[in-house]
Each structure stands twice: as structure tokens, then as C-alpha cells.
Symmetry: C2
Subunit: 228 residues, 2 copies
């Protein structure tokens, strides 16, 4: 069995938000899809370990924000590589509220979809929440961020709780001078640099400014290890 | 509520195949996604009206073929706009068999995934079949066909049984000289022509060869109506 066949499945990239009392939380997910048209229902697959999972279980509502292709890694890192158990992910973020009072980022989001849970499916490590749409809005026109674009162009990394996370195996090719963030798995590639944060292509890891931080999860250079 | 927000969700495009006794059938679907990694499970959403739905219910196995971006409209039309109740969709098609004896098209497919059903979820018009992978293979390298690409570049049409089918509303802009296939909804746009079948861009509908047929569902010119 060649599990790389799984990598050929196409996904978008979304921020899933929910609430518990007056607390908000959100996370990145790639498995969002429409289930039926009449009434309009959508489904999301959420890892049971995630805080957002508990919030949806309790509030029975969630919102899906469709990220724009040009969304910065920092926005994905904010929702994808930090836990709401440790930080308030909305602290310092510009956001708006949907009809049911769920937050969505005010920038880099093409559209949001808000739903109330009508069914949940236990799928092992994940729960599939099926929700009937209660509100939906197109915010700006643009191209949606896809999972493929995120990996190929943005060189993003995958959290271990994602359904599509695959342990690196013997197939990893040894290349010199790339550095991996030990917290989130982001790979700094000197050939690419970090243009979003003013680091031009061709900048070796050693020449990065002392205050440079991981563009995904925000930790310092000392958390990086040479890729082996 | 703006249902156009649903159009911002990203999907791939797949042929889902199953069997019943020694009969094969298959259909196009866009809602395929990985659910968990250990064990690897995938899910597909299938309209209950479709013949493939009954085949999966009975055989408890299905295969997903990931279409290549360059797959011709005729392959999509074969599986998406004909019913296995009327035709044998594999008649005249080059195909191979997976480990469990499920067929997949031998050409224009990047990879196949074969699964046995471990759970099914009643989701109104559709059933979500969750399956554990039993076989998977990458066949050729290439870019997967996405639903967005199919619509924007290939100008494909959507069958009414797809979860993402939306009735055309007042938003349709009247443009002269486009013709719509009354069987499958494919739109012939003279500015685009039908290059896959030797019709160059700029060819008016009236100048199409007499034996030209709909590239998606195969009916003749007489089934087309001027777009209104």
C-alpha cells in the first residue's frame, strides 16, 4: 500500500471557530465540505484532542473562514500551531462576529460559513461535525488558499493532529543548511528565505537577524535544528 | 444568507467505483477526504439516488480514482452524466483492477485508493461512507484535477445530484451566442471553442460540424439551446 496516494486528495484551508460561554477559540482545518444543498449542510473533521473540538461539542455551533491564497503564514500559525489552552488566539487579531456571535478574522478571509451542529460522527481520532448553515457571507473576491498551495508555495508545515499528517520516513533526502522548527515543523530553506518578513532568498540560516522568529509559530532561532 | 460562500470551499475531482456481483459502476464525486491517519481512513459523500450508492451499500467496498488535471471532459462525462442503470460505463474504456477487484480508469488517473466501508452516515440526500484503506497506489505524477479547475478552465457542468449543485438564479448574465446542453448543462462558449475535439476558439455554435457532440455527455447539437 502506497500511502502517498493520500497526498493526491485536494483540500482547501480554513479557520474553524467556536465559542464556550464568552470564550472564543479557533483552529486550522483542511477537511471542510458541503454535504447537501437542500437544506445547505456542511461538514468539518476536527481532532478530538483540540480545544475547538470541545467548544463545538458544547456550543453546537461553528464557523468556517475560507482563507485567501495570500493569507500570511503568521495567520495560519496563530490558529494552527498554538493551543487555545495556552493563549487567546484572538488577542491582537482584527476580527468580526457572525450572526451567532462566532468570530472570524477580518482580513485574508474570502467568505465565512456559520452552522449549527445537526449530527456528529465519531471517526476514531476525529469527529465529523455536520452542520446546517445558519449564516454565510462572501467578504472579498479572490482565490481560496488550497492545502496544495500552502505546502508547495508557502512551504507550510503540518501539525501532528491533522488527519493528513504523515510521519517522515526513510524517504527524507538529506540536504544541507535547511533548518526545522522543533515546535511546529516549519522548514527554513535558505534558497527561499522568508520574504514575508523581509528575508530575501539566498539568506543562510546563520545570517538571519537575531530577532527573527519562526513565521508559523513565532519561536526564536534557538528552537531550530539543522534538518537531518 | 449568501449561498455563494459555499462556492469558496475547495475540492478535487474523483471517479468513485464499486461493484455488485460481477457488475461494475462508477460516478464522479468531489467530496473525498482523509479522516484519520492511523489507521488510514477516507470518506466519500454519495447521493442516495445514484446507482453507485447501492453498489457500495451492498459490496461494502469502493475505490477512489484521483483524476489528473488533463483528464478529458469525455472521461468526466462518461462517469458524471450517464447512469449505470442505462449504460455500462466501462464499455470501451481501458481500465485496471485494484486488489479487491474494483475498476479504475487506466488513463488520466494519478492514483487510486481502495477502501472497505467501516461506517456510514445518513446525511439527508447523501450518505457519507467512511472506509479503511485496503490498497492505494500512485500511478503517475502530475497535478490533480480540482473542482475549481474543472469549472473555470474546462468549463464543466455540474449534475443535479451533486451536493454543490446550485439552481441558476437571477444572477445569470445574458450573453449572446453561448449554447447550453439541455441534457448535462455543459455550456458551449464560442470564445473558447472545444479544442479537445478540434474546434478552435472563435467558432460560433452555428459553424460547428454537423457531427459535433457535447464533449461531456455526448448528445448532438439539436439538444443545445441558446443560453438565456
Amino acid at each position: 500500500m502506497d500511502s502517498k496516494a493520500l497526498h493526491k486528495i485536494s483540500y482547501g484551508l480554513y479557520v474553524i471557530t467556536s465559542k464556550k460561554g464568552d470564550r472564543f477559540n479557533g483552529q486550522i482545518a483542511n477537511t471542510v465540505f458541503q454535504i447537501s444543498n437542500e437544506p445547505p449542510t456542511i461538514a468539518v473533521s476536527i481532532n478530538k484532542q483540540n480545544l475547538t473540538h470541545g467548544f463545538i461539542k458544547e456550543s453546537r455551533v461553528f464557523a468556517v473562514s475560507v482563507l485567501a491564497q495570500e493569507a500570511p503564514l503568521s495567520l495560519i500559525g496563530r490558529f494552527g500551531f498554538k493551543s487555545g489552552r495556552e493563549v487567546d488566539k484572538f488577542n491582537g487579531l482584527k476580527y468580526e462576529l457572525s450572526q451567532n456571535g462566532l468570530p472570524y478574522p477580518a482580513e485574508h478571509v474570502l467568505a465565512y460559513l456559520e452552522a449549527k451542529v445537526i449530527q456528529e460522527v465519531d471517526a476514531g481520532t476525529h469527529t465529523i461535525f455536520i452542520g446546517e448553515l445558519t449564516d454565510a457571507k462572501v467578504l472579498i473576491e479572490g482565490t481560496p488558499m488550497t492545502y496544495a498551495y500552502y505546502h508547495q508555495v508557502k512551504r507550510g508545515s503540518i501539525p501532528k493532529t491533522a488527519p493528513t499528517f504523515i510521519q517522515k520516513q526513510a524517504e527524507v533526502t538529506v540536504k544541507m543548511d535547511k533548518y526545522v522548527c522543533s515546535v511546529c515543523g516549519y522548514v527554513y530553506d535558505p534558497e527561499v528565505g522568508d520574504p514575508e518578513n523581509g528575508v530575501p532568498p539566498g539568506t543562510p540560516f546563520e545570517k538571519l537577524p537575531g530577532d527573527w522568529t519562526c513565521p508559523v509559530c513565532g519561536v526564536g532561532k534557538e528552537e531550530f535544528e539543522k534538518e537531518s
